[in-house]
Symmetry: C2
Subunit: 341 residues, 2 copies
């Protein structure tokens, strides 16, 4: 049952949010270097995890799904906006199984497309003023600004580490960065605004931060594990690409902590190189040392602990709500995020 | 008098808007790769033309300046956000007399700083909900989203031309691009929202489009003329940098129209080269051909015609208002934009 409910709900709500999202994409000039490209990442699909989480939370709290649909579409648009800029910032080559936008159209055009996607993400939130009333619509807008600021702060932390070739990043720094960069947009925000819409802003939104953080951190670690151990076709990005990009992951931080002084130095030198000069041999060596020190197994255990904590928070937040498919979906998420392939 | 009122008002209102703007810049972590850099362009100054235009219009219509101050600060923040991204997109090396942000900190960090500046530009508009009431605040937000979308469309047009090494850009294409990329943020939007605030959204905002377009197009042509003929120290960007960047200006479009087939071909080849391979000799040749065909004089005359048209619109829009320093400032702008050095 667990195996079925999450994909089923994601498919249903993801499709509903995507259908609404496409209503916000303008079909007009300039097409070739703007609106055609704005539609590119949304058309490639994606799981629709974030908008589904928003819709399911709103429904679990007894809200008609229509009330959450524009906000869910906004979340997915903003997620796509951030992907376009992140792909440039992280020098990623592939996204959802195809080349990233800046590799096909250049950085200048991709930056502008990301900016436009961010503006389009604002439009459903302006529509909320008509449909949900000014008080609730304003609160959702404020929440969205907060979420996007948290994301930019998390991104700044990670980019700073890479820019300086930081080798002293600790697990607590990593988790703070993940809280900001992954959890706010991915989990905290969708659940908060979903509950806000359903309860007319009468619920304490901060109650959802812990749940979103535990769930999101487990999600991120699993994502990074899949980058090392997954199937390239399923995954849609280059395998081992994170090591190549010099991304600070739980596994890399663990390797810095467990490795010998000599190994730490070799790792530091590798990360200080320009990306193109990091050879396949060196990346294979990093991967092999991670296995040697059990870094992957360690990260897997941390993710499991976080998923357990998310489960506990889940029962505190949603336990008293009447049984529903949406409630069961939310309860199934912690296990799903660490078991998905 | 004309020579004095514009700088005096710009100085006064620019300083007021900047003071308000700085209240919105967070003094917290992460500083080094985010909030310190977010403050960088605003701290370098700038004329404060856009926020001053907003405040002056609001006052000319009889509004207390405080009501327009947050909106003016938002305009300046969004202007700075766009400068950061534009500088990457246009590969500009200098901004306000110093190196551009991406040349000192790299493209990834600069993209993120621009995104954060855009979010900070949203905050004063959220404050408007408390201070101006939800109806007017929502209209200003909608106007801002429209303005930013127009700007991104204009940027897409210009980036598309550069990406394709377009050689068939006509004067009408150029003016449409300038309407979107320069005039909306620079002139139309500040005047529209200024009048909207003063009249509680009871004035037709579309009446200001013509004035803003004529004024902004004259402004842009003058800006491009200064890039060719100005003083590098006054100007703060590299002189002749537009030719180097391959920017489609009125002068370059005129040269394409007036030059021989052979000259057009040489110009097309030059623009097709990567920026770094455009030699000083070739750029000097372009400049010399522009002189030969009177392209600079031609553009100067177009700018003068546009300034005259802006003056005419100005009297239609503001003529019936009681005399005030703000009204005189607005009336002095058309001459000022083409006479400033």
């Amino acid at each position: 049952m667990l195996a079925e409910i999450v994909p089923a709900v994601l498919q249903e709500y993801g499709a509903a949010a995507r259908a609404r999202l496409f209503q916000y994409l303008p079909a007009r000039e300039p097409r070739r270097f703007l609106y055609d490209l704005v539609a590119e990442y949304p058309q490639r699909g994606g799981r629709g995890f974030r908008p589904s989480l928003c819709i399911a939370t709103a429904r679990a709290f007894g809200c008609p799904p229509e009330d959450a649909l524009d906000t869910a579409a906004s979340i997915e648009l903003l997620h796509n906006a951030m992907l376009v800029h992140d792909d440039i910032e992280d020098e990623s080559e592939r996204r959802r199984g195809k080349p990233t936008l800046h590799t096909t159209h250049g950085i200048p055009i991709a930056i502008n497309v990301g900016d436009m996607l961010g503006l389009l993400g604002l439009r459903p939130l302006l529509a909320n003023f008509r449909n949900l009333g000014p008080r609730l619509a304003l609160r959702i807008l404020e929440e969205t600004e907060r979420m996007a600021s948290e994301t930019a702060e998390g991104q700044a932390m990670e980019l700073g580490w890479r820019h300086e070739n930081a080798t002293g990043v600790r697990e607590s720094d990593y988790l703070e960065m993940v809280l900001k960069k992954t959890c706010w947009l991915g989990m905290i925000h969708p659940v908060r605004v979903g509950a806000m819409i359903a309860t007319f802003d009468s619920i304490d939104p901060d109650a959802f931060i812990r749940f979103g953080f535990f769930l999101g951190a487990a999600f991120q670690i699993q994502d990074d594990l899949l980058n090392l151990t997954g199937d390239e076709n399923d995954y849609g990005k280059e395998l081992g690409g994170d090591i190549h990009e010099g991304k600070r992951t739980m596994m890399l931080i663990r390797l810095f902590e467990e490795g010998t002084a000599e190994e730490r130095e070799r790792l530091g030198r590798l990360l200080a190189l320009p990306r193109v000069e990091r050879t396949r041999e060196e990346i294979t060596w990093v991967r092999e040392r991670m296995d040697h020190y059990g870094c992957i197994e360690y990260a897997r255990q941390v993710a499991q602990g976080l998923a357990g904590a998310a489960s506990h928070e889940c029962s505190l937040l949603f336990g008293a709500l009447p049984d529903s498919r949406d409630k069961r979906f939310l309860e199934a998420l912690p296990r799903w995020v660490i078991e998905r392939a």
